[in-house]
């Protein structure tokens, strides 16, 4: 037949097990068509009909019809699911809003936490790295705990090479580095040549073996290289360093390392963000003693050999200390080893760890609330769905079908919410990073493990959310008997109410807690610190010439600064009250009495203008001497706490540890907070700069007026007076924020969390109310016919929620109170918890909820009862 090409075409695409019947049918039709329409038309029709067999329903039909069955089944489930979701757009939207908000927040916090956990992870073999710390046998030592005797590390390696592999020691120093006229103030680390090998920093240029073993050499980071030279391969170039002892010196760049991870416990130890590194030979340039002595204190990292236990290592270190070190060094201290792997988390009283835990708890609560919303709304809306499901008579396995349907619905909801959250995160992460003061990476930078966790999380959320509704709905007796329906309905209502009550409880708990935290932190910030921190400009980048000549130079500079009308007063000092205040601690006692029996006092240094610049209150005597008076040596100013303990008066003579001469008390100042308000105020003593022979900061008290202009003027003056030093400044009140950085972060996070929780709980209530009102349409209609007014109806509906809230709030108060008192007791200075901190949030939440409930039911309450009754 000429039409065999059509048949050939058919045979090509048609599945073989269908071919015979299809071909036969086509031919049969063809024969009949010939009789009806004649051959030509019949042929055209044959072609047409054949072509139309080229369709998915035919092509994709395979022998394994069971699978096709399943595919069809899934397809129909999916269709039903989409239909249900779209039909109940409003309720789907509410649950999706709650879930999306919750997941986005979880993403933000989760990624932040993950970032914090990543700190230090790119240090080589970090599980073998430890920081040595000193535990003083008495309550406090003279120095910060991370200073240890300098020879200890070396001795350890020499005597016990099987336990200890390597060490690195350093002292930090702020230095001014310049290239021609470009001056920059940087933090440096002056340390051993083992720097590269120990930590595995990536060396971009230069030879790490020989980079830090000669004097007058310097290693810099890529960032600094670009800052000075606009390129990174700068080995062999030189930079000028302004040393404290030997003036300006050229240093040759011997290596450039890649920029180091933020917040790591080596270059960013104690937030120093070191960018340049000098060899131990540079110590002579900076008033630092020889490093290989027991007397010298230094920061030391140790790398243990594989398999060595830190406890064993620490014990060995103490043994060496007791054996080899002189008595006065070894008698008052023991050494402990702190692993670097969790150093960042545990330092500062474990501040970061606490933050992580609190945030995780908050996120868990938020997600829980969002899921609760879903459960509640599913159950409530299911009553109308059951009618439609109950009519099914045809296919068996209804229970399983409904179960699968609901689980897949909740999974789908979770997936859609998850996707939306990813989008929201990308859009919002910069803004939130700013708010929290951290950096949040974009999603594109996350690795596979993250996506895996995320997917798992979404699936868990979807399943959790869908589990209860699915089981409840699929096993309910509505399909079998009406009687059974009643019992399960009541139980479910109780469960649903319980969930709503739980939501209220959590919401009010978080609200009250965040109000309290917020107030406490404001208390910190605004409390009377005992000094005036407003409009005080601090400059740290002055040349440190710690000689008589240098002191004189600073005096002259001070007088120059005072010529400006914008500057009220200037002070030269070691530190400011809230930052870098005390270089060391020493025992003080009345002259003639043993110094060891005196009190441990924080020592600092300043000049006679300090009291003006910082607004300290003099209780007695003078702050050294009045301005303009000639310098008098060996004078001391004490604070109230010191005075109380020792019973000191102005004019008394005191002995200070480490000093051979007695000092005269010149004045007493009122206590001020120089540490964080977590601690009680301790005794403090001021030495004069000239006695202390060192200084670091200029503090300027600015006259009222435009801060910007004042800064500009100071900068101008600075450039004239110190042309070779950069102008690095900060405001005192900004510095305060850094001290309480973790608390501030916590406050911001809890505020955001409160808002989110409110959104979730309120939208949940909204959804529930609208559902229940829709269900009770007829009931409301009847009540109105029987004479109920609009307000009666509103009262009826809101009564249920009011009751729930009262119970929830009452339950929350004792728990909340206990929790808050615990938290506040961690602060030496804290505000009192007053009643309004509980009452205001509770009242606010109560009112908002009632208003919303009424608003939502208003429409039904005023509608024509005839209509609602007729509609049935």
């Amino acid at each position: 037949m000429e039409q065999s090409w059509i048949i050939r075409f058919l045979r090509w695409f048609c599945p073989p097990h269908l071919l015979e019947e299809i071909e036969g049918d086509l031919l049969q039709k063809f024969e009949r068509d010939i009789k009806l329409f004649g051959e030509r038309k019949a042929k055209r029709r044959l072609l047409c009909n054949t072509l139309r067999f080229f369709r998915p329903g035919i092509l994709l039909r395979n022998k394994f019809s069971i699978e096709h069955n399943r595919a069809t089944m899934y397809k129909s489930y999916f269709k039903i699911m989409m239909r249900n979701m779209l039909r109940q757009k409003f309720y789907s939207a509410i649950t999706m809003l709650g879930l999306t908000v919750g997941i986005t927040f979880a993403l933000l916090i989760g990624i932040f936490i993950w970032g914090e956990l990543q700190v230090n992870t790119d240090l080589k073999e970090i599980d073998r790295l430890y920081l040595m710390e000193t535990n003083y046998k008495t309550d406090e030592g003279n120095q910060p705990p991370f200073f240890v005797p300098a020879l200890l590390g070396q001795a350890a390696i020499e005597q016990y090479p099987t336990l200890f592999e390597k060490y690195y020691r350093f002292r930090d120093r702020g230095i001014t580095v310049s290239k021609d006229d470009h001056h920059v103030r940087l933090q440096s680390m002056i340390g051993d040549s083992t720097f590269f090998d120990m930590f595995g920093f990536r060396v971009l240029h230069g030879d790490p073996q020989n980079a830090l073993n000669k004097p007058n050499t310097i290693v810099i980071t890529e960032k600094i290289a670009r800052q000075f030279f606009d390129r990174s391969d700068v080995t062999g170039e030189s930079l000028t360093v302004n040393t404290e002892v030997n003036g300006l010196k050229e240093h040759v760049i011997t290596a450039v390392i890649a920029d180091v991870q933020e917040k790591n416990s080596v270059t960013d130890f104690m937030n120093s963000d070191a960018q340049v590194f000098l060899p131990q030979e540079s110590r002579v340039d900076f008033n630092l003693g020889f490093q290989d002595e027991w007397n010298t204190s230094i920061i030391t990292y140790l790398k243990l050999t594989e398999g060595t236990f830190p406890g064993e290592a620490a014990a060995t270190l103490n043994k060496i200390l007791q054996k080899d070190a002189p008595q006065d060094i070894s008698s008052d201290k023991t050494i402990v080893l702190n692993p670097l792997s969790n150093y960042y988390l545990l330092t500062n009283h474990g501040a970061v760890q606490k933050l992580i835990i609190s945030l995780s708890v908050i996120v868990a609560f938020i997600l829980l609330l969002a899921i609760t919303n879903f459960v509640n709304i599913s159950i409530a809306s299911s009553f109308s769905r059951l009618k439609e499901v109950g009519v099914r008579k045809v296919i068996g396995g209804v229970k399983r079908q409904v179960l699968i349907q609901f689980l897949s619905e909740s999974l789908l909801l979770a997936i859609v919410s998850g996707t939306l959250s990813l989008l929201l995160y990308e859009i919002l992460h910069h803004y939130f990073a700013e708010v929290l003061g951290v950096s949040l990476p974009s999603l594109l930078e996350m690795d596979l493990l993250f996506w895996w966790y995320f997917l798992m999380g979404i699936v868990v959320i979807g399943l959790l959310a869908g589990l209860y509704p699915s089981f409840y709905l699929s096993s309910t007796g509505t399909i079998e008997s009406l009687k059974g329906k009643f019992n399960s309905v009541r139980g479910t209502l109780r469960f649903s109410r319980g969930l709503v009550g739980f939501q209220f409880l959590v919401a009010v708990f978080i609200l009250v807690t965040s109000v309290v935290m917020s107030r406490q932190i404001s208390y910190f910030m605004e409390a009377d610190l005992g000094y005036d921190k407003s409009q005080v400009l601090i400059v740290s980048s002055l040349p440190r010439i710690w000689t008589e000549e240098g002191m004189n130079k600073m005096e002259i500079a001070k007088r120059e600064f005072l010529t400006s009308p914008r500057i009220n007063s200037v002070s030269l000092s070691w530190g400011s009250p809230n930052f870098n205040f005390e270089p060391y601690k020493a025992n003080i006692n009345h002259a003639g009495q043993p110094v060891e029996k005196g009190i441990l006092t924080s020592m600092s240094s300043a000049d006679e203008a300090y009291v003006d610049v910082y607004g300290l209150k003099l209780l007695d005597g003078k702050f050294f001497f009045d301005e303009g008076e000639p310098f008098q040596a060996n004078r001391l100013v004490l604070n109230e706490s010191a005075q109380k303990v020792l019973g000191i008066h102005v004019g008394d003579k005191l002995d200070i540890q480490f000093s051979d001469q007695p000092f005269t008390v010149a004045g007493i100042v009122k206590d001020f907070h120089f540490e964080s308000m977590h601690e009680k105020i301790k005794p403090v003593a001021f030495l004069h700069n000239r006695d202390f022979q060192a200084y670091r900061y200029f503090s300027f008290k600015l006259n009222p007026g435009s801060l910007e202009q004042s800064v500009q003027e100071v900068e101008q003056l600075w450039k004239d007076i110190f042309p070779n030093d950069p102008f690095v400044y900060a405001f005192t009140d900004d510095r305060l924020a850094i001290t309480y950085q973790t608390e501030l972060q916590l406050r911001k996070a809890t505020t955001v969390a409160s808002v989110l929780i409110l959104i979730i709980v309120l939208t949940g209530v909204l959804g529930l109310v609208s559902l229940s009102v829709a269900k009770r349409n007829k009931e409301i209609g009847i009540r109105k016919v029987l004479g109920a007014t609009v307000s009666n109806i509103l009262l009826l509906i809101s009564r249920e929620y009011a009751f729930l809230m009262i119970i929830a709030f009452a339950l929350s108060i004792p728990v909340n109170y206990f929790f808050i008192s615990q938290w506040l007791s961690g602060f030496a200075y804290h505000m009192e918890v007053s009643g309004w901190m509980f009452i205001v949030p509770i009242l606010a939440l109560f009112c908002i909820t009632i208003i919303m409930v009424c608003a939502q039911s208003f429409k039904t309450a005023i509608s024509d009862p005839v209509k609602s009754l007729k509609h049935e």
């Binding site: 009789k35 009806l36 329409f37 004649g38 039909r87 439609e388 009519v391 509609h871």
Partner: protein
């Protein structure tokens, strides 16, 4: 060519022209449903009422615009006719367009019912149902 046409006209099997006519008259599933609803609702048949009626009786949620379009199409085909009805406050004073089924429409329903019943008659197992 004329030979061909002759064959068609005399063919007892099928009449081509009648073939075409009948096709135009065939109603789609949704059209039949809407038309039936108009027949059920008598005086009260307008857009919203039909949507509600379908939801109640058949459990199927229809889009209001789909129903409107179908009503207009049915009107074009002459199966329903419409007039503006009374207004109520609830609609902000806007009048409704009330549809009533025409005789042609009834005839169509009857014809479709007849057709369906003929089919069912062929299936012995269906005899006891619905009578």
């Amino acid at each position: 060519m004329s030979d061909f046409f002759n064959k068609l006209y005399t063919n007892p099997y099928i009449s081509l022209t009648k073939h075409i006519e009948m096709n135009k008259e065939y109603l789609g599933e949704f059209e039949e449903l809407v038309l039936t609803m108009v027949g059920i609702l008598q005086e009260e048949a307008y857009g919203n009422a039909i949507v509600n009626e379908i939801k109640d009786r058949v459990g199927r949620t229809c889009n209001l615009s789909a129903v409107h379009v179908t009503l207009y199409r049915l009107e074009d085909k002459g199966y329903v006719k419409s007039s503006m009805g009374g207004s109520t406050n609830a609609r902000g004073g806007r009048r409704k367009r009330i549809f009533t089924i025409t005789n042609a429409g009834l005839a169509m329903l009857k014809a479709m019912k007849e057709q369906q019943m003929q089919l069912w008659k062929l299936i012995p197992q269906l005899k006891i149902v619905g009578n």
